[in-house]
Amino acid sequence: MNEIIQKVNNLSIGFKSKKGEEILILRNISTNIKKGETVGIVGESGSGKSTLALAMMGYVKHGLYTIGGECEFNSSNLLKMKNRDLEKIRGRKIAMIPQNAGQALTPNLKIGYQIDEALQLHSDLKEEEREKKISELLNKVRLPSPETIALRYPHELSGGQQQRVAVAMALAGTPDLLLLDEPTTGLDVTTQAHVLELLNFIAKDTGTSMVYVSHDLGAIAQVSDRIIVMYSGEIVLEGPSREILKKPIHPYTYGLLKSIPKLSLAGLPQSMPGSQPQPGTMHRGCSFFDRCDFSEEKCKNNSPQLEYLEELNTSVRCFNHKSLMNDSQVNQTVNEIKTSTQDKEILNLSEVSISYAKQKLLDQVLNRISDDNPTVKDININIKKGETIALVGESGSGKSTILKSIAGLLRTKGGIIKFDQNRNLSSDLKERDPNDLRIIQLIFQNPDESLNPNHTVEEIIAQPLKLYFGLKGEELKKNITDLLQKVRLGEFYMSRYPRQLSGGEKQRVAVARAFAAKPDIILCDEVTSALDVSVQAAVLNLLQQLKEDFGTTYIFVSHDLAVVRAISDRVAVLYQGRLCEVGPSKDVYQFPSHPYTEVLLGAVLEPDPDIKPKLVAEDIVEEKPPQKGCSFQGRCSRILGDICKNEVPPWQLTNSGNSIRCHIPLKELQKDQIN
């Protein structure tokens, strides 16, 4: 257990800027990976965590180069090795599992063939042995019926299954060290929990060392023995995972843990101000100085060294860690959200159904509806003015589809969308008048894509102001400045381009643009999932503040139940385009729940090594909603039998005003779930 297999010694990696300055991405990193150990590397985007992981297999990205230090594997420096020698190590001794397995697998080769290729390269097995080994590997990553999976093409597998195949391929060479770069980031919550559980099992079973890179402390907490926290290219904290998560003695980790929303706490977590310094902008002092709550005068000019504390077995880079040590139990305080829900109904969806299927010509002529099993069906929701309602579900649950229909971007197949009790909103964008369009605004998931890269912030925010209010000249400028102020950005941002802004700043600009139209309803499509945790909390707080100021109604789509818990008044859980459960947020998070809500809640990962996810159902992916009966019948662990398969379950009302659509009586549900 104590044998060191990978030794990173004083490693610095960087690039030359256009002006010829040397800019460091990694600064003097030293760490050891022991045999059989799982190490989590955590940090915000741009902290250098992926660069470090790649360096561990002797790879430096194009444009970057090693400035100093070495990565020793079996006492040979990988960074100085020739490619031919590296080939012998990569795959056989060190294997990598990429973030997006769907893109890492060759689309036109069968799974079995691809694993066979890895085996040919990285093992000495003969052909017959290899065949046996393939099913053995697929079995090991718990894929059902390995023989059939081996004959499939990557696109025939779900995201979680593809990730499992990637794990199987990495294991083909029986490596000593496995590098995982954000292996579960693109996956659904339930799938993520299953894959992590598998990785845990493999680590124990094979004794392989793992380096797990992620921005998600929840995932890291589930798998790692030891955690390395990185900040702007430096290790700021390193130690056993329990110590780090329970007693974070570095202010950055402390702040990070405080900004993660938890299931057990309603209300918005506190955000960490500022953002990580860009590479090349480091000053003399501590790189976290600007954002630190505990900083002192000396932090400004002296940069702290990594200090090893024997009693905690932890290294920390902070002058002040002693004062943090005393009160470092993370006492999370949340900003209670004020409900501003009014009695007036603002948006009503009744019997809305949406289908992606193209109408056949014959059906068009006969004017009949061809698809009797649409993607989204029977959506009935009343939304009150000033309310935040969240639509929750895994990918494919139809939540974004519903948002698009509300915005008019996607035609509904049936049902009515009514605004303000009496105005029908046409499902065709062209038939809506400008005012209908103004009252509903969208904020998108990825601000990189939702802001035109060739427009300045001023031009971006001016668009709705010009379109809806015809503002010009001074008045326009004044309005833009006001809006920027509302989203806490200074006037000088006006002339910036999106690429000059950080992720959080970009999302603020997108928020400002949405509010520029003075809308009644804002549709938020996964608005925080592309952001770092510390920024996520800030954006959530901003949205809440703006809502209180303007009385806007939010329809909030997210797959992250903890975020939804933090911001929403009411939650609607969707599976396969059908509603499962609707109710006030505090009740949805309590039992009794719809069996699907139970699955989702169980799979939430919390940054606490003591809270393990509960895996209730299998992570099968269904492509189509079932023709009849309950939408969740295929995965439900509490399925009653024929009744679930044939009859659409009735809505049952709980005492607290929570509606659950299930055949199982509420009392029984509650009894089962609490046990």
Binding site: P277, T281, L442, F444
Partner: protein
């Protein structure tokens, strides 16, 4: 929030942007050579009527097919005209006609491509099939038909060349638009209710402009070759106006004993085409369209 100077980049005036692009282009050897050749040709086209040593149409039977000498630098042709004079004047018509021709190609090809990309559906299908149909017609035959019906005047040549070379730009512009169209900022503009015109003008053009401009520059050099082929076949510039294509055509039979009367226009034509190609490449790289030169991080 502080941003360091390497990330700092304030909004620049258009003039500053253009000059920065030209400086970047010239900082690469190939770009420098291309730009120099192109600028040389353009300057020559402007000043050649004033610096030409002889009259380009002065026929002198006593001076037929003279070899290059101190007096006649590039020798004389079969009618005793000075080849040097005719060579430096020979690029003017071709350069002017193809320049305006590519502008027209750029304009209609670019706008139609963007429109098709944005609208999609049946309109897109129909327009693209028509474009495909035209692409399948050998352009030189079609050009010959047009020229023989309507004559070889500049007013016919410029739009005809512009039309034939714009077809390819339609495809490029449409593909570039497809890249942009899926982005959320277009969805957002649609959801706000902007008109198609406003979406094209404000959201799409700034993002596809670079790709279309580079494509236009490449088309320019092809069009130059095409135009010279027309002249070579006798359908471009009419004699006695000096033109490279025409000069090559006239002198090609004499190549075995009076090589100078062919080589001079060939060098003129190919150097201009190489110059434009190199410039277009450097332009693409300066705009960052070439992926391999993108800065790290």
């Amino acid at each position: 929030m502080k941003l360091d100077n390497i990330y700092q980049e304030e909004k620049k005036s258009n003039f500053a942007k253009v000059s920065e692009i030209i400086i970047t282009m010239a900082s690469r050897p190939s770009g420098f050579i291309g730009l120099s050749i192109l600028i040389f040709h353009v300057i020559l086209a402007f000043i050649s009527p004033y610096v030409a040593p002889y009259d380009f149409k002065a026929i002198n039977p006593t001076l037929m097919l003279q070899a290059p000498s101190a007096e006649y630098w590039f020798g004389t042709d079969d009618l005793g005209r000075d080849v040097f004079t005719r060579t430096i004047l020979g690029g003017r018509t071709a350069l002017t006609i193809t320049f305006f021709g590519s502008l027209i190609a750029l304009l209609w090809g670019g706008l139609l491509g963007i429109f098709c990309g944005l609208v999609g559906g049946k309109t897109d299908d129909i327009v693209m099939r028509i474009v495909d149909a035209f692409l399948s017609i050998p352009w030189i035959l079609a050009m010959l038909l047009i020229v023989s019906l309507l004559g070889t005047s500049t007013e016919v040549l410029i739009p005809a060349l512009g039309f034939f070379y714009g077809k390819g730009i339609v495809r490029v512009a449409r593909a570039a638009t497809h890249d942009v169209i899926a982005k959320d900022f277009i969805v957002s503009a649609r959801a706000r209710g902007h008109s198609n015109f406003s979406i094209i003008w404000n959201e799409i053009i700034p993002n596809v402009r670079d790709a279309i401009l580079v494509e236009g520059a490449m088309r320019w050099s092809w069009m130059l070759l095409g135009f010279s082929s027309l002249s070579f076949l006798g359908f471009g510039v009419s004699p006695p106006t000096p033109d490279w294509g025409l000069m090559i055509s006239n002198a090609r039979g004499l190549m075995s004993f009076a090589y100078w009367s062919v080589i001079a226009p060939i060098v003129g034509l190919s150097s201009l085409i190489i110059g434009i190609n190199l410039t277009a490449d450097a332009f693409a790289k300066a705009l960052g369209i070439d992926r391999s030169t993108k800065a790290p991080v």
